[in-house]
Amino acid sequence: MSDVLDDTATDSNPVATRRSAAGRLYHGETAIDFHGRRFIGLGASAVLLLVSLVTLVFGGLNLSLEFKGGVVWDVPSETLTESRAREILDANELDGAAARIQVLSSAEAGRTVSVQVGDQPDAVRQIVQKAFADEVGVTAEDVATTSVSSTWGKSITTKALRALVIFLVLVALFITWRLQWQMALAAIASMLHDVLLSVGLYALFGFEVTPATVVAFLTILGFSLYDTIVVFDKVSENQERYHGSRMPYADIINVSMNQVLMRSLNTSLAAVLPVLSLLVLGAGVMGAGTLSDFALALLVGLLTGSYSSIFVAAPIVTLLREREPKFKPLMGRHSTGAELERLVLGGTPSVRRDPSRQRAGDADRPTPKSEGLTHEPRPRKKKRRV
């Protein structure tokens, strides 16, 4: 690393030669004032969260058998009708009217009638399995059954929730250690935002929540945290870099967001493409039903995961930090436009806030990084010679 000073930009005046919007994006020269528009993002998120919460509270989630407990018989038959299935249940002293019956059709597996009732003893499950098999003329083994006791459903839910809480505490500690507690708070808040939005989507459309869905929610959780940390790492790097200069916190955030924008777009595209393929090709064209739940939840989660890092997590950190004594005097004076663009390209803050150091043409000249230091390097410690 001999060439610390080797920092001269090839283009001496990047602001002067404007590229198209896409070109600037490609070359990392965007200067979007994210901070100034923070309330658009926060507001949109707040509205969506409110909708999610309202549907969750009033609609509730459509939990699958694994969480509620119950018995399902999947009867392969081209002819079995819903009413006949209910009669069979009634004949076996089950409440046929209360059963949930779905008719599923797929090209390869044919028509299947899925009959679901509440928690039943194992003996009842077998008797009814036999009854259905006799009715449609197959062996009992061909009628697939699934039974889950309601206590078991509760216990896996509690286990998963406990795991989640422990995970969040550990992650918060980890982020506090490697970055800052404000970032830990913001990362977890934006993660909750993403998970709540996907869960809300399930409540809104009444999709069934299966163990596969829970796996999808967890993936969203993981991805959201991952993405936020990549973004925050950039912020943290810029905090160190501008440590000596008097710069509003909003500027640090704005610069970081612009620098990380292309990476975020690329990553979300790279993450979304396989999931989109899973949804369109796997679930849509090839008809693997288990996959559609999963892929849909993931798609929404991955998109919000990338979005929330920039539009939710970053504003929260700004909110928490811009009032600190160091940044408070500079609040509300963040750079925009050309000045921001200059900062994004690696320039140091303009000296306009410090008139004593102003020199002509300073604003246009990208300054080497080392000039950003406002204080002299600490003199080398004298080593005692033996």
Binding site: M1, S2, D3, D6, T8, A9, Y26, H27, A109, D122, A123, Q126, E141, A144, T146, S147, V148, S149, T151, W152, S155, I156, K159, A160, R162, A163, F167, L170, V171, F174, P211, A212, V215, A216, L218, T219, G222, F223, Y226, I229, V230, K234, R263, N266, T267, A270, A271, L273, P274, L276, S277, L278, L281, G282, M286, A288, G289, T290, L291, F294
Partner: protein, 574 residues
């Protein structure tokens, strides 16, 4: 420096592709989980609010594994997560059979032996001996598959219960059918074990017979043929012998544990459970050989039950005509021993020709039986294999297409650097395939749908590592640094980011893996594995690859990265 980079790169290539070729060549493939190949999943948990010993639960898991192994199910998955036992049986179609198999009780029963134990002549099994039941103990229906809705099994021995012993004559039932007849050569087996009061409490020095096992093998005189289990639905092990399902209310044939050749004993209904003992059984040296010493619980639940049983056997009552008492755990007789005293006072010792291991196993069984676990069926899931096959195909195809799309995008955006991503993904893919194949061979890991989906999703995270690196590389190059310098600085910055972000994923994977069950656990495993692979590949593949390429003049062409590279050599521009 350059040499080290080349060595690192070549090393990783050799490991990754070697692993891939090795597993492909030996035909090791990832085992497919239940949701992919179809089968049955049964979950059990101890009954809530009932105390049980850990030893008992351990033993129950072992017992389940033993039964499933003897059934010869390919790639079974037996998971113990906390107190929950999950058994996944891929490829098994008969649900009832699976449920019966995995429902071990953990109960230890004391059952009198009604007739001498006999070895099974395996060589005679193949012949279609349709000999009818003979002798006194021709028993048919007793080896029953417990079907809760039919009470047929108990009807044959109406009135029989642990408290009301039934004489051997009453339970002799003619076989209903000759299907599944198994000839047993009537070889007398000298029982090598003896039960006697502990010397320190009774002062009676019990003379142990300590007879060597004189089990004669292979005397194929089928004059005494005993029929076991005529019902065809009884699960059968690899030797064609029925896997015994314990029914403590009726007399039945049960195999003795670990006997080779297989040995069956006809035992009466249970007259007591392992709860008569305290859980202080220890294996110790008795009379020069290994044995087990255990104390009895006081009062009606312990001493009284045991002594009434001991006296029946000592005086060879009709309920215990052989004078032998067996200790049964889930359908296999852990010990068959002569009772040496009619009355015991607080302590029992079992001696015989035990090895140390056998004595310790027996002590474990007795301890677990003193506070047995009661497992409750929590869920039975039947996954249809047709659905599984479709899902698998869909997941593979869409995953493949998805990765291809990502590569096209990478090539579009990063131009030739996209090739590095493609190469890197083959390295990650080879590593993942190799590790999953190896683990599924050695540890019984199965690749489930959520696992595959986890891997597909991890493609995004893996690609992100390249994106973070390349973006930094471009930033550095734009700032006018030489390529070689940019590559080094770029990686340092990117590596910091990658490590922090991946560590969070790893923490999540570990926590979820330890604390959850089922699909979530499978997902956590594959998330952790692919994250670890990401770290490995970033450091040992991407870093040396880009650093080495950055030294060539090839990278400086505009089309390689899509941006202008300053042609000034390092350090020369300032």
């Amino acid at each position: 420096m350059r040499k080290r980079l080349v060595v690192t790169l070549v090393g990783l290539f050799v490991i990754a592709y070697g692993l891939l070729i090795g597993t492909l060549a030996t035909g090791t493939r990832p085992a497919l989980g239940l949701d992919l190949q179809g089968g049955i999943s049964v979950t059990q948990e101890p009954k809530e609010g009932t105390p049980f010993s850990d030893a008992s639960l351990d033993l129950a898991v072992e017992k389940i594994r033993e039964r499933i192994d003897s059934l010869g199910v390919a790639e079974p998955e037996i998971l113990r997560q906390g107190n929950t036992i999950v058994v996944n049986l891929p490829g098994v179609k008969n649900q009832q059979q699976a449920v019966d198999l995995v429902q071990v009780t953990g109960q230890v029963y004391l059952r009198p032996v009604l007739s001498q134990c006999q070895t099974v002549d395996l060589s005679a099994l193949g012949s279609d001996t349709t000999a009818a039941a003979s002798e006194t103990t021709g028993v048919g229906a007793e080896t029953t598959v417990a079907e809760p809705q039919t009470t047929g099994a108990t009807e044959t021995t109406a009135g029989a219960g642990p408290s009301r012993p039934v004489s051997g004559d009453n339970v002799a039932v003619a076989p209903e059918t000759t299907a599944g007849i198994m000839p047993i050569s009537a070889t007398e087996t000298t029982v090598p074990m003896v039960i006697s009061p502990a010397p320190d409490t009774t002062g009676v020095a019990s003379e142990t017979t300590a007879a060597p096992e004189t089990t004669t093998v292979g005397s194929t005189s089928p004059d005494t043929t005993v029929v076991i289990g005529p019902t065809s639905s009884v699960p059968v092990d690899e030797n064609g012998l029925p896997i015994a399902i314990s029914n403590p209310t009726t007399a039945q044939f049960l195999p003795t544990f670990g006997a080779n050749p297989p040995e069956y004993c006809y035992v009466g209904p249970a007259q007591g459970s392992g709860e008569v003992f305290k859980d202080n059984a220890t294996a110790t040296v008795l009379n020069g050989g290994w044995g087990v010493v255990v104390d009895l619980r006081d009062g009606a639940a312990g001493n009284d039950v045991w002594n009434s049983l001991a006296s029946q056997c000592y005086y060879k009552d009709t309920t215990c005509p052989t004078g032998q008492l067996s200790i049964e755990l889930d359908g296999s007789l852990q010990s068959v021993a002569n009772v040496n005293e009619p009355s015991f006072n607080g302590s029992v010792q079992i001696s015989g020709s035990f090895t140390q291991d056998e004595a310790q196993q027996l002590a474990r069984v007795i301890n677990s039986g003193s506070l047995p676990v009661t497992l409750q069926l929590q869920s039975v899931q039947n996954v249809s294999p047709t659905l599984g096959r479709d899902s698998l195909k869909a997941a593979w195809v869409s995953g493949f297409v998805g990765v291809l799309l990502v590569l096209v995008f990478m090539a579009f955006y990063y131009r030739t650097l996209g090739l590095i991503v493609a190469l890197g993904l083959t390295v990650s893919g080879s590593l993942l395939w190799g590790i999953v194949s190896l683990l599924s061979r050695t540890n019984g890991l199965a690749l489930s749908l959520s696992g595959i989906a986890g891997i597909i999703v991890s493609v995004g995270v893996t690609v992100d590592s390249y994106v973070v690196f390349f973006e930094r590389l471009k930033d550095e190059v734009r700032a006018g640094r030489s390529l070689r310098n940019s590559a080094m600085r770029g990686f340092q910055g990117a590596w910091r980011t990658i490590v922090i972000a991946d560590l969070v994923s790893l923490i999540g994977a570990l926590v979820l893996w330890y604390l959850t069950v089922g699909a979530v656990r499978g997902f956590a495993f594959f998330l952790g594995l692919s994250t670890a692979c990401d770290l490995l590949v970033s450091y040992f593949f991407t870093r040396p690859m880009v650093l080495l390429l950055a030294r060539t003049s090839w990278m400086e062409k505009r089309k390689v990265m899509g941006i202008e590279v300053s042609s000034a050599p390092a350090g020369g521009a300032a």
